[in-house]
Symmetry: C2
Subunit: 82 residues, 2 copies
Amino acid sequence: MTYNVQIKVMPLKDLLDPQGKAVLGGLQNLGLGNVADVRVGKHITLQIDAENEAAAKQIADEASKKLLANPVMEFYEIEFVN
Amino acid sequence: MTYNVQIKVMPLKDLLDPQGKAVLGGLQNLGLGNVADVRVGKHITLQIDAENEAAAKQIADEASKKLLANPVMEFYEIEFVN
């Protein structure tokens, strides 16, 4: 079966996020001063062929650990969609 | 009130996604051949000060249109989290 998996990779909460700071500055220049904090990460969708959801989750987990996220600077969350 | 808003910005479905193709190749080199398709986009979290959810949604919408997403190549989705 084919599973649609969404992986969110975001900078760790304790770390500075220069890209987010830049976006925040840009928004304030556009007059959107009500925005207080911005963080920017990656959103990745995978189509995984697997026997069941547990197997698909394991593949997504391995992909995140080995390639998609850098655990020193980022955390990831895996979500299934239909 | 402060609202936590998540914005997902992804390449349009009809367009090629070179970054996704590169990730797909990388995953196959790592032996994860069960992954069939990859698309890579941005995930942005905003903290918005607004009177109500509708006002916060409008600010997020304006931010997406003016700065975060390029409508020629990308679509966006706004989601509220608590």
